[in-house]
Point group: C2
Chain length 335, copies 2
DNA sequence: AACCGGATTGGCAGCGCTGCCAAAAACAGT
DNA sequence: ACTGTTTTTGGCAGCGCTGCCAATCCGGTT
């Protein structure tokens, strides 16, 4: 069609000023709707912008602007394979979008060193804020975050001390509530089935809360199965089969999350074990499919989008240091 | 602890130069490992950087550098609620990470106007590349992309003409292959159950391919149910129930994706309909849970991570204009 | 007609960094 | 010791934009 456009010089604000027959500052003022300008100037600038197809260069804008901080938010999540984090991002981008703030993302793969490297990399874009997941970080990450001149928000977990702002819920409390629910329903031989805890510290906190609450009821875990690797229905299915082979008498299983629980449910269907008669299942997260199952999954719904939204508002207005968004125990039909 | 750090002036390269007792250019060269420098200079700079906790300002770096293009990639996805897109991002960030390129994301909510606005917003960060989803865009988006002086990669769909590079597979072919599979298995009264097609154009293309292949076999769709809103197991479940009420005699259902199919499977379990004896189910995407189901779901696995990876390599090396990553039909036990 | 206060405007320095270039230093060969 | 490299170095302009400030313009007053 129209010959290849060599990436050569792009249209600059100076070009727009010349085209519109006004000064650069006028263009700048009009474009940002900042300071005063005449109607005539506004029109001429708008025309020139349209004619030239001008796209402002925010690298330059942020560099020149005050505090030299960009309309960017650096976000580090441990994974994108688990729905939780896309949901978080969804809440974040949705809320930040309105303010014209874009998210630059980094995926740490649950590795604190990688997280630190990413923090440095993201900070080099001089974002207005740095959003981290969880409260456990390398000392270097904390140092960077503190020295970075940015607002820091730690998301999802409130069990511990944060750097600056914290938005989430208590994973310990979730675990405890789950345990109390199972105990109240009369289950006594309860096992835990999870994915790698070294790596997913929040799951570890839930388990700790779960065991503590069991202890208060004079019980303890009746078997544990930790699967290597990330959580998935496949892992949950294999895990439940392994668990039942070792502890044929267990009557309930607490899963590290709904994906694992779904796999467990599939295992029960395949083996013809009645749920919750023969064995009760309890998950975590409250994902979409949980409510659509033939027997709705008993689980805890976490307000993931809300965490994202609240985190976003932490960046903009002045807000309390710690926001606990709570959680909701869903009494399904599987426990 | 250590009094609040006013966001005041951060450490600059000039500070490092002074601290190290060398010139700015030397620091710049050492830091980027570009050009030659003495061992002594490297050591002194490294010390100064560590002592001062210097984090380079890439806004300034990119502005000064050649072509003024940043080590950023602008990515626009229609949604984060569907696993497909996080998977895409996962492939992308994984591959781009090594090259030090960060992703800035935008979520268009399947709205072309929003996509256009996001394209302009992302382009204003002067990214090295712009990654879009699908081939259908506003004329304005295309104009921006062409004038932006950036590499453009359109992902997921290869059914049509792209702006620059295209990485994906043929959704039409997926639909056709799915139809041929069902026909070959002897199903004749086949219905389609999908989510909003106006919005998800790729699903529309699959359906078109599906119907075309049915036509070749002398068949046509035996019922259609389009659910408003996004795809989800809940929607799939309700949809299948509605479909069966209208067409009690259908013997197979083609779902717009695995989430919908999972819901359909749950509906069958609840209603006690044998799968695939009474009714066969066929999905799309090949998600994790599909293989863990009591009866593995018959579906088409799409190489989502691979698309992300290939898209990343499109940005860096010179690559063919269009990469078809193909797909794989999974003969599960539900169709 | 000269004057005044506020609205509007343009020039220009400078944000932190990189590229270029010439100067300085280190090294090599005679 | 002296010249001819080669390596290493620092100064400085300038990337595109914004903030500041002084200059200019406008309408309404005396």
């Amino acid at each position: 069609m129209d010959g290849f456009q060599p990436p050569g010089r792009l249209v600059t604000l100076t070009d727009v000023a010349r085209e519109a027959g006004v000064g650069e500052s006028t263009v700048s003022r009009v474009l940002r709707n900042h300071g005063s300008s005449s109607k005539r100037a506004r029109e001429r600038v708008a025309e020139a912008v349209a004619r030239l197809g001008y796209v402002p260069n925010r690298l330059a804008g942020s560099l020149a602007g005050p505090g030299a901080s960009a309309q960017l938010a650096g976000v580090i999540v441990p994974s994108l394979a688990n729905v939780v984090f896309p949901d978080l991002l969804r809440g974040l981008t949705g809320a930040l979008d309105a303010a014209g703030i874009r998210c630059v993302i980094g995926v740490s793969d649950y590795d604190p060193d990688r997280e630190e490297a990413l923090a440095a990399a993201l900070l080099s874009w001089r974002p207005a804020a740095l959003l981290l997941t969880g409260l456990e970080h390398n000392p270097g990450t904390v140092a960077l975050a503190k020295a970075g001149g940015v607002r820091v928000v730690e998301m999802i977990d409130t069990d511990g001390a944060g750097i600056d702002a914290v938005v989430g819920f208590s994973n310990r409390a979730v675990g405890a509530a789950s345990a109390r629910h199972l105990v109240a329903r009369g289950y006594r031989r309860i096992a835990y089935l999870g994915h790698d805890l070294q790596v997913d510290l929040r799951a570890g906190k839930r388990l700790a809360g779960f065991e503590a609450a069991l202890g208060e009821a004079g019980l303890s875990l009746h078997g544990t199965e930790i699967r290597p690797g990330p959580s998935s229905p496949g892992s949950g299915r294999a895990g439940l089969e392994a668990l039942l082979a070792r502890h044929p008498d267990l009557d309930a299983v607490y899963f590290s999350n709904d994906d694992m629980a779904l796999g467990g449910y599939f295992a029960c269907l395949s083996a013809g074990l009645s749920v919750p008669g023969r064995i009760a299942l309890f998950g975590f997260n409250g994902l979409d499919f949980a409510a659509a199952m033939p027997q709705p999954l008993s689980t805890v719904r976490t307000p993931r989008l809300e965490i994202g939204r609240q985190a976003a508002s932490c960046l903009m207005g002045e807000r309390p240091k710690t926001i606990d968004v709570g959680f909701e125990l869903i009494e399904g039909a599987t426990a």
